[in-house]
């Protein structure tokens, strides 16, 4: 566990150096370079040590490239001073994530994510141009809210996640394997006791419509299989989600009512800081 701890600590220190100062103080460019180098060393070390791939060489290569692009895009989204840069790096995060979706065998989701988030990012651009850019570089973009504590908390959480992942990975004994059995195997295991509650839950969650393969063991076509399970097993979910979209539309229209009284007495941005 020493190597991942050191790698995560390096990444945390590097990210802290890349974040804005808490009072918006200027940092020399050298510190930025050191921070970027530390974060890069930590994250590349962690990912290259613990991403494992088998099968064709190209899919392993793409897995590595997409993972690195996603994580670096994430770091740069969080640490960029300009919201336009943040939005652009967030686009790279989205594209890498859709690449990972493709590698995991979810092409419909990859296409859907690109379509949905392309619109979302363009809207974010419009908002940045409308709201942020007319004041020029804002002071609140160059100052962070308690960056040290936030970095410590978040990377502590990351260390806990990596620790639990790796401590499971090291355990190839029978007990360790049993901990992550696919539920369809539990269904086969409990079939002798049809009244057992675990069996009823697992068999309800593992109907034939929700599996990748049909009864003969052939793989279903992707979108057809997804649509089959979406409109049989998850019909109520689909209806609820549709209702939720409609409610969100009504809510968004309601809270941006232009006739509301605007600008009551209260603190506004200090004028010296906006420039």
């Amino acid at each position: 566990m020493i190597f991942p701890t050191v790698a995560i600590m390096l990444a945390a220190i590097g990210t802290f150096l890349l974040l804005p100062h808490r009072h918006g103080a200027l940092r020399p460019g050298k510190l930025h370079l050191i921070g970027a180098a530390l974060a890069a060393v930590g994250l590349v070390g962690l990912l290259s040590a613990y991403l494992s791939f088998s099968g064709p060489f190209l899919s392993g290569l793409f897995l590595m490239v997409f993972s690195l692009f996603a994580v670096f895009g994430g770091v740069l989204t969080v640490t960029s001073r300009s919201p336009i840069d943040s939005a652009l790096w967030f686009a790279s995060v989205i594209l890498s994530t859709t690449g990972l979706f493709l590698l995991a065998g979810a092409p419909f989701l990859a296409a859907g994510t690109v379509i949905v988030y392309a619109g979302a990012i363009i809207v974010t651009f419009l908002f940045v141009i409308m709201l942020a850019q007319m004041e020029g570089k804002a002071a609140y973009d160059r100052a962070a809210r308690s960056p040290g504590t936030s970095t410590f908390t978040c990377f502590l959480l990351f260390w806990c996640l990596v620790y639990s992942l790796l401590s499971f990975r090291a355990d190839y004994t029978d007990q360790g394997k049993k901990a992550l059995l696919p539920p369809r195997d539990y269904t086969a295991f409990y079939v002798v006791q049809p009244d057992f509650p675990t069996f009823r839950v697992f068999s309800a969650a593992n109907r034939s419509t929700s599996q990748f393969v049909d009864a003969e063991g052939n793989r279903k076509p992707h979108v057809a299989g997804l649509g089959e399970t979406l409109f049989t097993d998850y019909l109520i979910t689909v209806e609820l989600v549709g209702a939720l979209l409609f409610i969100a539309l009504v809510g968004a229209v309601a809270i941006t009512d232009p006739k509301l009284p605007i600008r009551p007495a209260g603190p506004t941005a200090p004028s010296g800081l906006a420039a």
């Binding site: 974040l19 808490r22 103080a25 930025h32 991403l51 791939f53 088998s54 993972s67 994430g74 989204t77 969080v78 001073r81 919201p83 967030f90 990972l100 979706f101 995991a104 065998g105 979810a106 419909f108 989701l109 994510t113 949905v116 979302a120 974010t124 908002f127 709201l131 002071a139 609140y140 973009d141 962070a144 809210r145 978040c154 959480l157 990351f158 992942l165 990975r169 394997k177 992550l180 539990y186 593992n206 929700s210 599996q211 990748f212 393969v213 997804l226 399970t229 979910t237 989600v241 939720l244 979209l245 969100a248 809510g251 968004a252 809270i255 232009p258 603190p267 506004t268 941005a269 906006a274």
Partner: protein, 160 residues
């Protein structure tokens, strides 16, 4: 007898969990540490992306569509969240003429003590900073003439 899970499938799942966890943690960092509301919104979206990655990885590991269906639900909830969040950002911007989230700190419970020291006090306590040329300093241009008279109300202040 339950079949043994393949070690290779387990390793593929680990890849997705690792990257998904990293994206989630980075999004959380951005949400906690940044002050620009638009960047906070992007960070929240990044946390959703990390969760979606883990769900797709688990769905592939278990051999069913559940993870992908969950991710579709996450996509629609993210769309709802985006519409509401951007509408809120417009309303909050109209009230304070700024995207700074720290201007809204008085809406917390009044009897609760502030866990972080007040930033105005902090700013006053902090020593003067000499600008150093670097990535965070911006060029200063000299004004090239007399500033013309502005027509009445600026368009940002017009409300009708």
């Amino acid at each position: 007898m339950p079949a043994e899970p393949e070690i290779l499938a387990l390793n593929a799942l680990m890849n997705y969990l690792l990257v998904g966890g990293a994206l989630f943690v980075l999004g959380m960092l951005g949400f906690l540490a940044r002050r620009n509301m638009i960047v906070m919104f992007l960070s929240a979206e990044m946390m959703l992306q990390g969760t979606a990655l883990t769900l797709v990885g688990f769905g592939r590991y278990h051999g069913n569509w559940t993870g992908q269906v969950f991710t579709i639900v996450i996509l629609t909830v993210a769309a709802c969240e985006a519409s509401i969040a951007l509408a809120l950002i417009v309303v909050l911007y109209n009230r304070r003429t700024s995207l700074d989230i720290t201007l809204w700190r008085e809406i917390r419970e009044p009897e609760l003590e502030c866990p972080v020291k007040d930033e105005v006090l902090e700013r006053e306590e902090a020593e003067e900073i000499e600008p150093i040329p670097g990535p965070e300093s911006y060029p200063q241009l000299t004004p090239a003439g007399i500033e013309p008279a502005h027509p009445g109300q600026a368009w940002t202040e017009r409300r009708s």
